[in-house]
Symmetry: C2
Subunit: 697 residues, 2 copies
């Protein structure tokens, strides 16, 4: 939800700069200068230590002297003076302030105390703060520039940038001027003492000029809130994130396979996917995708046509589309026939279309019209190299009206530089998306496709289960010790409470008990050493399968306990666990860890002992919907194999998906569970059974 106060950051009636300076080397000069030259339509006022004048305006020494209206304060005073300046603003009724000043939390405990003091005062007056330690924000349409970065602002446009890095803002402003890339707003968040990235996402999403939001993220302040609110925003406007620190966090110490494989970056990937936020691999890709999303109509499918006057670049483009999971559209007979009438006999009228070098601007336009009319074409990539015999801008003039009128995305690979510069200007002015190399266009088509694929499933919300026994689950967890593995019989009860079938597990502590229990259970049996201290029992030779007689079960008891003692003398051994062997079937792993930022992080994939080696696993944020469980299966060989493969019979994939969904709700509902793993889940032609499971709180 958006605090309406936050809108005042962008369109305030009157701005006051605290710490305005007449020395051109000072930030307080830069901010004052930028506000004045940015063309901000309201009053710009200055408050400083000494009275004076700057840019034809007085410098007041007291906020009380500043005339009405004044709604936004920009603070560039030294850190120790910020709190009093905030108080003065509060007294004056100013509701929003940008604190550019550094010297706060980023410098140590003393600075952190100043930050807290500032925040407390702002709270007293209901004020909202951006910063401290930021470069400010700018809005190109109003217009207003509160930064101290060298003007002019980037061209006015339709992409917003919200950034955790001030330096990144400075770089992108200069880059945007050079590229003539338009921005609507840029916001440097600084230390986020108050307003954070999720708050800004909400506010900026409401801006009519902003069509796409880009995010330079170091980490999100509140994972759950970010996912929920970003997901809501994304349903109206595309959000792209460049999330840094992918490798910095490293892997967590964890005893389960799931925990070992789920780095914190995995959780970010899963969170972005859940929210529909597109994660860009590079800075360049983020803005490439933003252009495409801002100016292209929806891409309804993944079938792209390539139109080129040169064979080589057409083939490069086809490769690149395939790389990005897009398909080459297959043309209808009628399309091919129409192209044939427009092109010389040696041309290629299949995809990629090669019009040959003799193509004129009119040929480009005529062929594009034909391709757009083909129902089997979802989008078109047009390759425009320097034309050998005519100025390339003619192609731009011929193509622009068609691209603007099309209800399918058309992007241009405008290849070259000097000879295509005029064409580039025309395309840009018409908001037609161009890239210097077709590979970047291919990646942008993928971004368009992924957005539509998210929107198609945006209504798919996880539904709580109504056939689970939450009380039984609570009981099963009652005896759990923090940081330790839950007793296997309690695990059994826990899973059963959520409708997950298990191979019932029985503890036997001495030979007599073993023999008696075995006779009751029948054969064949599985024997496993019973020890809460041994996580991976097969690693110590602690598992025997197919035990088929009373004598054999006693023998197995002796063997697994002896092996376990030998391998792990320090482990407490409680005896053995006995289970009836399940029917034959495939085996998969299902697991979850609780991510500190984002909550239940579910894993599915190839089970057994080789989980970390094969890495045939995929992750998603829980709780899961029916559709999400299907996607997880599709992404892994373990999941695809459930359909059957050569001599491997099919397994009950519907039952696997059901268990995956139940497991995700179990972790969602039982907040004390930190790790849970079923490995393996035996998947039979009909039904599944959890053979081994572990739970830690």
């Amino acid at each position: 939800m958006t605090d309406p106060t936050l809108q005042a950051f962008f369109q305030p009636r009157g701005v006051v700069v605290f710490g305005a300076s007449v020395s051109p080397g000072k930030l307080g000069y830069g901010v004052a200068h930028n506000l004045v030259v940015s063309g901000y339509p309201g009053g710009v006022h200055f408050v400083g230590l000494k009275p004076g004048a700057l840019f034809g305006r007085p410098i007041y020494t007291d906020l009380a002297e500043v005339p009405d209206p004044v709604e936004l304060a920009v603070l560039v005073v030294p850190a120790p003076a910020v709190a009093e300046a905030v108080r003065a603003c509060g007294e004056r009724g100013i509701r929003v302030a940008i604190v550019i000043s550094g010297g706060f939390r980023e410098t140590g405990p003393q600075g952190a105390a100043l930050e807290q003091e500032m925040l407390a005062i702002a709270g007293q007056y209901g004020m909202r703060l951006v910063g401290p330690n930021c470069v400010g924000l700018l809005e190109t349409h109003w217009p207003m520039d509160t930064t101290f970065l060298p003007p002019p602002m980037p061209p006015a446009g339709n992409v917003a940038l919200i950034s955790h890095s001030g330096a990144f803002c400075g770089i992108i402003i200069d880059w945007a001027r050079g590229q003539k890339f338009g921005f609507s707003r840029l916001i440097s968040l600084g230390n986020q003492a108050d307003v954070n990235e999720t708050d800004m996402l909400n506010v900026v999403a409401e801006d009519a000029h902003t069509r796409v939001l880009t995010h330079y993220l170091e980490q999100v302040a509140d994972g759950g809130r970010f996912v929920a609110e970003a997901r809501r925003v994304v349903q109206r406007k595309p959000v792209i994130a460049l999330k840094t620190g992918r490798f910095a966090a490293g892997q967590r110490a964890a005893a389960s396979h799931t925990g070992a494989l789920a780095g914190s970056d995995t959780a970010y990937d899963a969170a972005f996917e859940k929210a529909g936020v597109l994660r860009a691999p590079t800075m360049e890709a983020m803005f490439d995708w933003a252009s495409a999303l801002a100016f292209c109509p929806p891409l309804r499918g993944r079938r792209v046509a390539i139109l080129s006057s040169a064979g080589g670049p057409g083939v490069v483009s086809a490769d690149s589309l395939e790389d990005h999971g897009l398909g080459l559209a297959e043309f209808s007979t009628s399309t091919r026939a129409k192209l044939a009438t427009l092109l010389p006999p040696a041309a290629n009228v299949n995809n990629p279309v090669d019009m040959l070098a003799s193509a004129t601007d009119q040929t480009f336009a005529d062929c594009l019209k034909v391709l757009l009319a083909d129902a089997g074409v979802d989008g078109v990539l047009v390759i425009v190299p320097p034309a050998p015999m005519w100025p390339t801008e003619l192609a731009a003039q011929a193509l622009i009206p068609l691209v603007r009128a099309a209800d399918k995305p058309v992007m241009i690979a405008l290849m070259g530089a000097d000879l295509v510069a005029k064409a580039g200007n025309l395309f840009r002015a018409a908001n037609v998306v161009t890239f210097p190399f077709p590979e970047r266009a291919a990646a942008a088509f993928d971004a368009l496709a992924r957005r539509e694929e998210f929107l198609a499933k945006a209504e798919d919300i996880p539904q709580p289960l109504d056939d689970v026994n939450r009380e039984a689950a609570r009981d099963a967890l009652a005896g759990a010790t923090l940081g330790e593995w839950l007793d296997p019989q309690a695990v059994d009860r826990l899973l059963n409470a959520y409708g997950i079938p298990t191979a019932a597990i029985h503890l036997a502590q001495d030979e007599a008990e073993v023999a008696a229990l075995a006779d009751v259970l029948g054969f064949p049996l599985v024997v496993k050493v019973a020890s809460a201290d041994i996580a991976h029992k097969s690693d110590v030779g602690g598992v025997v399968l197919g035990v088929d007689s009373s004598e054999a079960v006693v023998e197995a008891f002796r063997m697994v306990t002896a092996r376990a003692r030998a391998a792990r003398p320090e482990a407490r051994i409680d005896g053995i666990h006995l289970q009836r062997m399940a029917g034959a079937g495939q085996e998969v792993i299902l697991g979850a860890t609780r991510d500190p930022q984002f909550g239940p992080l579910m894993m599915f994939g190839s089970g057994g002992v080789e989980v970390e080696g094969l890495r045939d696993v995929t992750f998603a944020l829980g709780p899961l919907t029916e559709a999400e469980t299907g996607v997880m299966l599709t992404r892994t060989w373990a999941g695809r194999k459930l359909a059957g493969f050569r001599s491997i019979p099919a397994g009950d994939s519907q039952a696997v998906r059901d268990v995956l969904r139940r497991l995700s709700w179990l972790v969602q509902d039982c907040a004390q569970i930190t790790e849970i793993e079923i490995n393996p889940l035996r998947v039979m032609p009909a039904g599944v059974i959890a053979i081994d499971a572990r739970v830690r709180c």
Copy 2:
């Protein structure tokens, strides 16, 4: 080997244009014009249909009238007139000609006949031809421009481009002008009636101005020759290829797992790896890497330091280096101490170094000096954003002498546009490599590392085996039928002849024979249906393991033959094959197909029936060296697992590598083998045994 004649294409004394035209719209005008304006230092002469004058020179109607010296002819006459023009050149003693004219093989059979005629005449005179159907070539240092593309030529530089696409040349020439990217030579190969990409590679590699060769490849003319000659060239100069049509060829129809997984593009990957040719994923990457390879000293390891005045881009760079398999250098205590004296307390003196925004040009230089002096740093990525308080070109001036003097690669991420443009010009003039985004620098560091890694193993040449019985192998293959699977007993003999241990295989055709043979062999046994028509026997239930008595073996005989008949009524069934069961162990797949271009293409990976599903396989061109077999193991989980993993005991990886090497020589030596596959090879703690193997000729 290079034909010395080919050098005349680039530095001829005197050029004649056949088909020179006074009409500015004609190619014959463009070529004449470019030659004149390019500053070519020799005589430029024109031959045309009608006498006249062009650019102050006469147009002759007869080559005989052209004054000496004349060494290169550029032909722009219509296709039907080319043969006679070539003959005239031959008579005049001209040894090299560029045929720009189209209308040959690319237009159909009639054109192909003209091409053959032209080639035959050139052969009579020992002439060498580039083209036909090309845009010509240019050499920027001599200088000489024989193309018809809009001048001027790209800036003179140290990167050569050899291209199968003429359009790509046109695009790159214009792009290079815009980027101020320097080229030494650009060559459009056209139809390659005579001179092909490998010929050109050899010639251009000898050019002193060319430091790096780039290749736009559609397909190579002769795979074996390309690999051999490119490998030789690469030992002197880096070669980068952009190979198109990665997806076009699709998968081959093949009955083995190896064949199903080995697409023709896999063979190109393997060929480039064998030759040390770096394969670029995109056009942009090709020229990024070329810059780095042309101007950086060798990168001796993969430990890179990042130096930045901004935290955010530093972290992005760290992520990107990790993405590309580079490591962040760990600094020595002394390095950190020196950095601490140069930087404010809040700066980060670990990698990535964050100098903070207060850094001056001198800080950049001082810190770079410290980093270059650290023995644990193999290269440095310096991030230069627009400096807030001083002109960014000062950083360029301070850094350039250090970068030029360094014996380690330093690359600059020069981020921004307008504010860093002057710095960009200075860096470029000094041949210091810059990129607008750090991610591209990270990819270029990887290219530098890969080059050194190749050079380190360039002396590693496969050595023929001296302990194989080639005669026995010939005998075993004697009964092979083209296109059919070799009899399993012959496969046994074939593998044994090359020192590959097999589970000896015995055919039994009726129940009596089965029982008698089983008694001789002992138990336990493996029973497989014997049928040349059934490639994957387990798919039809045609395999029974662990058969442990005379009664059981007869039962198994009945069962597998009945199942096979039921599943494949059309298959001819010869009885069963009996093998003693091998010891327990891991299982891997080893295979080879014969690629029509490149010869033996070896595969290694996870075996069993799930090969295509798991796709845990890797490929390399045979014959293999000892070191190459080690790399293949490292690249797959199947290979890494041989070291042992959790409860899985280690396998004899040395024996696996030995079999891989032997198998590669077997395919190399026996040209009639088209596919061979051992699946599985059982890998025991000591020794290996081929459990099942198939060979097709």
